[in-house]
Symmetry: C2
Subunit: 456 residues, 2 copies
């Protein structure tokens, strides 16, 4: 086995990108704007400024500037845990006996345990710059909440986190990490907000969803002086910050003259996938190169593969602007899949537009097969993956097995977004054969689609 | 702040050491040999071969060969997670406003969460090479057990782990990680072994200790065909394998022309500290350089600072050979400190001899102040440390504060052995002010010393 390529490709710190890449600048069909749920007119900067920091509003609305400089303070913070390694999965390749070459960009080597820190520090930085007291947010698996807590602790900002109830209960230690970083953590839906109380009344016993938690966090941000809301996925600004993943991946591949054939990422709200693929998608949009790009989502929450491309609320409480995206309906509450970070009814408007335009594909996978892949990967590559990340592993293994059958030597790159150290309850269920593979019925989805807001 | 030195110094994979360094070769006063508890004669290779693999026995007894080649298979495995970064703690320095320069060698970026994997893969490799079915061991915090499980899964060996009961209960998720890697995990003391039953009868309600767990693991290894016992610390062979930490640290420092003044490591059985300091101690022994070397231990289990330098059993059950070391007595059961990996009554014979000869110093620190340091470190450096590692952080911060007072620009290097993701119960107790700082009384220690075996 030729080993000219090391197990782990690390860029030098001075090779880290100094700008984020805004893929919207190269999109012919831009993602549809956020619209006001009352007027159905595009949200203005002033309207968005009530919810988000000013600089982030500007980033949210800018669909023409290709490169946006990363402030020095954020680059300093990035140096604490970046550049992240691009790993050649030699051991997995050998185990699978595949001619495919498999690489993964590993974003889990930081205490938040995932890529979420890339956007958390950016959003906290702009909040601090604006002189705010603090920020509010939601978290699913707890990775985003942990990341935001770390960023806020570093900058001295207050941090209020609404955590999806099922994760709050399944991941008490993740909650404790957030508290170590000084954040307050509330299980959602809660009785602390008007929307939380309404959801609890309508769905007693609900295990919550990202959609509910977003509503509560937005309510608190917009009713408390000196606070703004920040979001770990879906938004254009988040994909912008996460482009650092793709830029580093591309730089590392270019350094060794490697051209990927297939790029795979898990997709919940789309932050990791959008960040990972952005520079590759840019080349594709500009006609400079072609790649097979695959989004992987849980079969229990299949927004790309079974959702509608329509305007919908980003949150269950229906207080956020409407976004045009692939959605299962903001009323859809997915079954309690252990990949909490993928339990979201919608999808990034950028990725939704790219998918709608045929520039990428999507697949859904079932939970048990995802954990089979996770365990197989852990045993040969050493890293215990987060359930979210394991969706991408499942697809990468499937593609590598296809290569074995056809003899093709494809180069596969996937995003290993994080580690599963706080997901041991899920692994335990898997070992005990107690894992659900529930998939929503067509009737359930139709019932949810029927409640989509009517927009021309 | 000059930043010519990057935040993280990574060696290239081809700069990884190709041999381990055996510090005994440079010691004028060699560590005393293990002796047979019945005859008080040095243990022969044949006697040790009943407990340990043959190649490891040879390494255990070899005190003259300075460099022992690392087999290719082990180097391949090392490449999955090594070289580990040497990090410049710029953010901590700034927070402390110290003129000191602080570096830490971070061994936590692998799923075992610590440096333990360095020796686990070596010991599993030699067991496999000898054609054994499996290995048995003990684990305290669970880091060693996890590491061994990973190594055994990789090589296809059976792995039986006895886990100190207090950790088994405090760290259910660590246990589940071991199960993910296919290991069987038993809380110790257990009723599965004769020794476990005896200890349970004598100390009902005991939360266990590394000493008990060792006895049980040795019993199982020596009464089952095709099994040998492996140990994560204390032994000469383990310090040999862990020298990879120090060799990489030295190579990284040399690359940037940095000469440390102070080298700090936490010490339970001594594996991390022994590995980290070995090449520096080698220079000191050969008269080529001088360094201040400091071992940090918990005040609740102070083998260096309050123990006796005497022959003692390595295990509570008194079935192991006798080792000459600093010890609190094999009957000593420390209070349930959260740094499970440091709850051991003895200390590596190599380090004990070096300490006895005045070549290094030792300090003990109290638990609450350790967690204060841990939280302070986490908030500025991002990494949430293991309680064990936080002992070294405490001392590094103390030294950096001294430099602030004196104006000295000392260069401090410490070992950050692992992450605390499975220690959130301890952090929770710290946050709730429920942490014990119990220190054994002189009377308790004297009572334990009175039971030391009589050896001329």
């Amino acid at each position: 086995m030729a080993k000219e390529i090391p197990y782990k490709i690390y860029l030098e710190e001075n090779e880290m990108p100094d700008s984020w890449y805004n893929v919207r600048a190269d999109m012919k069909n831009k993602p549809a704007p956020l619209i006001n749920p009352g007027t159905h007119q595009p949200m203005t900067a002033a309207e968005l400024g009530g919810v988000f920091c000013d600089d982030l509003v500007a980033q949210e609305l800018d669909d023409t500037t290709a490169y946006i400089p990363i402030p020095d303070e954020i680059r300093s913070f990035y140096r604490m845990y970046r550049p992240s390694p691009l790993v050649r999965a030699y051991c997995l390749e050998e185990k699978l006996q595949t001619p495919a070459k498999i690489y993964y960009k590993f974003e889990g080597n930081n205490t938040s345990g995932s890529h979420k820190l890339n956007s958390a520090i950016a959003q906290a930085y702009y909040a601090k710059k604006q002189g705010l007291k603090g920020v509010t947010t939601e978290t699913g698996a707890g990775q985003w909440g942990t990341a935001l807590s770390m960023a806020c602790a570093y900058l001295g900002l207050d941090c209020k986190v609404f955590m999806v109830k099922v994760s709050y209960e399944q991941k008490p230690f993740r909650r404790e990490v957030m508290r170590t970083y000084g954040a307050s953590v509330t299980p959602s839906p809660s009785s602390d907000t008007a929307i939380g109380r309404r959801i609890l009344a309508e769905h007693p016993g609900t295990t919550g969803s990202l959609g509910c938690a977003i509503s509560e966090a937005v309510e608190v941000a917009t009713t408390n002086e000196g606070y703004r809301y920040v979001l770990g996925s879906v938004l254009n600004q988040v994909l912008l910050h996460q482009s650092v993943i793709g830029l580093e991946t591309k730089a590392a591949l270019d350094k060794y003259g490697i051209k990927p054939d297939i790029i795979i990422g898990c997709a919940g709200g789309g932050s990791n996938l959008g960040g990972l693929i952005s520079p590759f998608m840019g080349e594709k949009l500009r006609g400079e190169a072609d790649y097979q790009i695959i989004a992987i989502e849980p079969a229990s929450c299949p927004s790309f593969t079974r959702g509608r491309f329509a305007y919908d609320f980003a949150d269950t409480g229906m207080i956020c602007p409407l976004a045009k995206m692939y959605t299962l309906g903001s009323n859809f509450i997915p079954s309690p899949n252990h990949a909490g970070g993928l339990r979201y009814h919608g999808m990034s408007p950028i990725l939704s537009q790219l998918y709608h335009d045929g520039l990428m594909e999507a697949r859904s996978v079932e939970q048990t097969s995802v954990f089979e892949a996770a365990e197989q990967f852990a045993r040969v590559e050493g890293i215990l993956p987060a359930p979210e990340s394991a969706h991408a592993i499942r697809a990468a293994i499937d593609e590598a097995i296809k290569c074995k059958e056809t003899g093709e030597e494809k180069t596969i790159v996937f995003g290993l977004t994080g580690t599963g150290y706080f997901d041991m309850v899920a692994y335990e269920k898997f070992h005990n054969g107690e894992m659900s593979d529930y998939i929503p019925t067509d009737e359930e989805l139709e019932a949810s689609f029927a409640k989509l807001p009517k927009v021309d």
